[in-house]
Symmetry: C2
Subunit: 312 residues, 2 copies
């Protein structure tokens, strides 16, 4: 379809962004089983945790152990989030080969999330980035509140471009623009993505979307029109933002895979295995999941043409 990519790379962020806000702490062994399930289902990029202080986000306290168990010898790209130099040291000790830095494009969210406004948070990332690049760890970055901030309102694209330039200067090899509270419309996606594309022509871009206002699939579609091929997603639409009470979770991996396959865009992910994992996750969390597919009795369609025979 005119200019659309014929395949996309989906990063499964359930184990980090999905679980960090859940009231139930999922045991490490269950996380490991989910992680191996994702890899078996064809997921090639997995966010496994976050090197934050365990008192701050207890659900992420086992990131070191997950990294040690999972990262050795895995061909897939497994990464964890790093906010500062301490996190970088932990990542290196755990043998992580892929790291995502994270910084908010808006000062309001940066202060709430990282304790510092954007520019200072970037400065604080520098020694972390240096330690990681010295060790040949592959660095990517998420720019949070790249479209809308719960404190500062709409994020001017210039702030995102500036943040992107500074992250590129830290050695980052791909950028993910986050609609952290799910309030961006496709209009916002186009405005900011094109601004970054115009300024950083060779930087691979991805989107990190939440579905708070039901706009995530429209945002994916607009991004595909813009040539974006990388998307974060969390199985079952799990996740949330501490600064948008009641906000819905990440775009659901099951819904995103279904959308792509129905539109003839390959993901490499097996839908049946994904749905089986979702049912397992449902049992682990003991609550209704937020993906549209989770509410439909019919099996989702593996591919556009064959899919439809599964609809009752």
């Amino acid at each position: 379809m005119n200019g659309m990519p014929d395949q996309v790379l989906i990063t499964e962020v359930l184990l980090r962004d999905g679980l960090q806000m859940e009231p139930v702490i999922v045991p490490t062994d269950d996380k490991l089983r989910l992680a191996y399930g994702f890899l078996k289902a064809g997921v090639t990029s997995l966010e496994i945790g976050s090197f934050v202080h365990p008192d701050k986000v207890p659900q992420m306290a086992d990131t070191d152990r997950l990294a040690t168990e999972l990262c050795a010898g895995e061909a897939a790209s497994l990464h964890a989030l790093v906010f500062n130099e301490k996190g970088a040291r932990r990542a290196l000790e755990a043998g992580v080969r892929h790291v995502r830095l994270i910084v908010s494009a808006s000062d309001g969210h940066s202060r709430a999330n990282a304790g510092l406004p954007t520019r200072q948070a970037l400065d604080r990332l520098r020694p972390a980035a240096e330690a990681l690049t010295d060790a040949k760890v592959q660095l990517e970055a998420t720019i949070a509140t790249a479209f809308v901030c719960p404190f500062d309102g709409e994020t001017p694209p210039g702030r995102v471009v500036d943040t992107a330039h500074r992250l590129a200067g830290l050695g980052v090899s791909a950028l993910h623009l986050g609609d952290t509270i799910g309030a961006a419309s496709p209009w916002h996606i186009r405005r900011t993505v094109t601004a970054v594309q115009d300024e950083l022509r060779d930087m691979p871009l991805g989107l990190h979307l939440h579905n708070t206002y039901g706009m995530a699939s429209a945002n994916v579609w607009e991004a595909l029109h813009l040539g974006i091929r990388r998307f974060d997603a969390a199985l079952g639409g799990v996740g949330g933002c501490p600064f948008a009470p009641g906000a819905a979770g990440n775009i659901a991996t099951d819904d995103l895979v279904n959308l792509c396959h129905h539109a003839g865009i390959a993901t490499g992910i097996d839908v049946d295995q994904l749905v089986a994992l979702r049912d397992e996750l449902h049992a682990l969390l003991g609550r209704k999941l937020d993906s549209a597919l989770a509410a439909v009795p019919a099996a989702p369609a593996p591919l556009r043409v064959t899919a439809l025979s599964d609809i009752p």
Copy 2:
């Protein structure tokens, strides 16, 4: 935004497509209150019911009374569905000035819904259409299962084009393509909409979307790219299809209005009044509604720029 319409016409279909599957029969007085609420909120196109046999769809048994009460003197476009000549007579007696015919593009769904395959269902509509056009009633039509049929699989665009030609021959002045079970992807939207646009260049087209697989907002966005300016929607995402058990309802009017306003596209509908009506509907139906906005504590944003101050 490059080629996007700057305004859209939303037809509120809660009173017909929304309520027809609800287990609770909403009293006529409550429907009237909702109808007046919609008009006051700025809705200019309202589907008020369906002239079907009351034994078949008891929720629509008061369509004649609603039409008599509502249609006299209203500047807005209020329409009801008509399937056959008997329905046309009832519509005329009730003073309806706008009617939507409905026919399925796929034989499987047409047999299940109208008791006849597509071509014969169209033949049966002819005397109804003649009676209505003779009386100068404005005729539009919905083509159900225009993208996917729960019985026949994907609907070939040629079937939709053929059905569209035949409806045009009956004097229909606008066509609405229905994703009856919510299984179309934006790929399907583009394929079939462009096929119909190529063949019936002057026919205004609209979309009737359901959100079963979470793809409705992506489908709206792709349709906007194709110049579509007419959308059906039901407040709170109410509705369903008798032939897709567990399927979600219509695209939610509150979500659609929010998407449009965030993207700078006018709808003429006041969001605050719409949300107040949705809360009233929630009380009437006594169940959780399906719109994304219904789950978010923050008031939706009335306009792209001002909206964001409302997000906590």
